[in-house]
Symmetry: C2
Subunit: 356 residues, 2 copies
């Protein structure tokens, strides 16, 4: 318990960028994947409630919360596909970590950047258990805001150093290639999805349109491939043809949520899937053969945000990358909230110059 | 749309106090009750989801969200009854207003003080429809953080100017009386609940312990009284004897929530209750006779927080009582989140002094 009970550290976008840069993007992603892995290993301690979603014509606003009994974390996140056309982010987010014992917030932070990082870290973590051994080449279909983070996470955690990029807008692929220059990747910009997946052991799909789309068709997916499907993450939004799902071993974060939001919304509600946490803690097998097609149907789950909040909370002290926010009322006597208000008024008046 | 898309105004506790004091507590409560009344009158437009609650041994952390289709509001609030013994607030809160069209936050604000204000404003608003005509005397049982706000709201909206205070800890009653001195109240500190309700036309109960308590027994409640029950607001926490409920006309905010959290958790799930919004928009009657016992079983609902957020958002411009928070990532090109990070790094390096 600190002396200043009313103060909550706040990490702005600018401070988050500085924290990531000071840490190094690769190390940040590796450390973060470590936190996520630890939390997935103790999956059962988490309070796993569905996200609280408010849908509207143009998008959705969601609150994602979870707790391990000691800490509580939640994230505010929106998804508005049309925002991009107005020069706005499709997804913006912020979040909070709180102490379960007192209910007091411990950290408030931007999470737009942090979500991009935790999504990529989770993808790479899953691939470490699911991708074919020795994979070096990844196709990335959809080269928007998530693409570079995916590439760097897969490099840091799996050693992926060859990228095959495709986007319906070639400017996005060029932006991705440009941003990744000098990071040790061999990068090819491809003319089609079919072209991009040629020779790739891992296929990442990260497109943004809110619609049933078929980014990958069955004939494009060869044996032994690992598919990292990131973009199908809400009802009505999928990226893969159903036939691919039917011949894949499917891994998910939290089955009840993924059945509503993920690629598997196209399948029967009892279609067998394995939760990643079970693979991580050894209760279930990951990839069982070199020929198997594995699919990580990623939709993003509150536990990953929780891990990210914990990581930032642990990393922050001493860095100077936060400001103090006077977020909580802290009267000298807890029952005397009104008295605190009165005293603030008295103080105010005492500070004002008297009339001459 | 402002030029600085990444900036969200933040109202700290200190700024909220200044805003309330600059407005005047009575006027703030009256204005706020006006916003709540308007929103209750258009009750059907609101997306009314149950709160997302995370219960633990010592308390609860909740997210309360709602939307009218144009704006979205949510509040983070904890309830930890034992906090008081450690010098902490039982309840702390903060909240956010966002634009439904873009999902972008518009306002982040402390809500510990604001919740106290909206709770009192809602109570007084309900009483304006339910209390006996010409009521001047109110008993307040439980003289903690909520008590002064209740007193001032009832004065501002109903003209209540005689208070009969009771708390199991007389220091709380003295604190309340002291804080209200000079505001035109005739105040009596009473030795018991039974003493406090003598001659009162309105009885407000606002105690804090998380347990089934019986603050009021049946014989203490005379005909014609209006009961404003504020403290029974979560499962397992009630204040009134069941017999009182059975002879009262019961008014609630949102029946599905109140049946779980309010006094009426003691009653059959189909016991008739009337929603306050129906009374306000004329679909249902409020008080129907001078002899009737009316009960407002208040638990606090997300729409009230939404009204409070809207009010603060409207009041704020030009006051200077907020700071700019760099909460949202705002890359020049929405798909180029990683490029924004890279450019922040380049800028950083350019600003660092070169090695000599």
């Amino acid at each position: 318990m600190t002396a200043k009970l009313n103060i909550v550290p706040f990490v702005s976008v600018d401070h988050m960028m500085k924290l990531v840069l000071a840490t190094g993007v690769e190390r940040f992603l590796t450390d973060l994947a470590g936190y996520i892995e630890k939390d997935f290993r103790r999956w059962n301690v988490f309070d796993k409630t569905p996200r609280l979603a408010s849908h509207s014509r143009d998008g959705v606003i969601e609150l994602m919360a979870t707790s391990d009994g000691d800490f509580y974390g939640f994230k505010y996140v929106n998804g508005h596909p049309k925002n991009m056309r107005r020069g706005l982010q499709t997804v913006t987010a912020f979040g909070m970590l709180a102490d379960v014992g007192s209910g007091y917030p411990l950290l408030l932070t931007e999470m737009t950047i942090l979500t991009a990082l935790r999504t990529a870290a989770t993808s790479a973590l899953a691939a470490r258990y699911l991708a074919p051994k020795g994979a070096r080449t990844m196709a990335i279909i959809g080269n928007g805001a998530q693409s570079e983070f995916q590439a760097i996470a897969f490099k840091a955690l799996l050693g992926i150093d060859r990228l095959r990029l495709y986007d319906i807008d070639i400017a996005a692929s060029r932006k991705c290639a440009h941003n990744l220059a000098g990071r040790g990747f061999d990068i090819v910009i491809c003319a089609s999805s079919a072209d991009a997946v040629e020779g790739a052991q891992i296929i990442t799909t990260a497109t943004a349109d809110k619609q049933y789309a078929t980014i990958l068709t069955d004939n494009m997916v060869g044996t032994g491939v690992h598919i990292n499907a990131v973009g199908g993450d809400c009802p009505g939004k999928t990226e893969l043809h159903r036939d691919i799902l039917l011949r894949s071993a499917i891994f998910v974060e939290f089955a009840p949520q993924t059945r509503i939001e993920g690629e598997i919304q196209q399948l029967a509600p009892d279609h067998p899937v394995v939760e990643l946490s079970q693979v991580i803690d050894g209760q279930a097998e990951g990839r069982t053969s070199a020929e198997q097609v594995t699919l990580f149907d990623s939709v993003g789950f509150a536990v990953e945000d929780f891990s990210a909040l914990r990581y930032v909370h642990d990393r922050l002290p001493g860095t100077g990358f936060s400001i103090d926010l006077d977020l909580l009322a802290d009267p000298d006597e807890p029952r005397d909230l009104f008295g605190m208000l009165l005293r603030a008024g008295a103080k105010e008046m005492a500070q004002e110059p008297a009339d001459p």
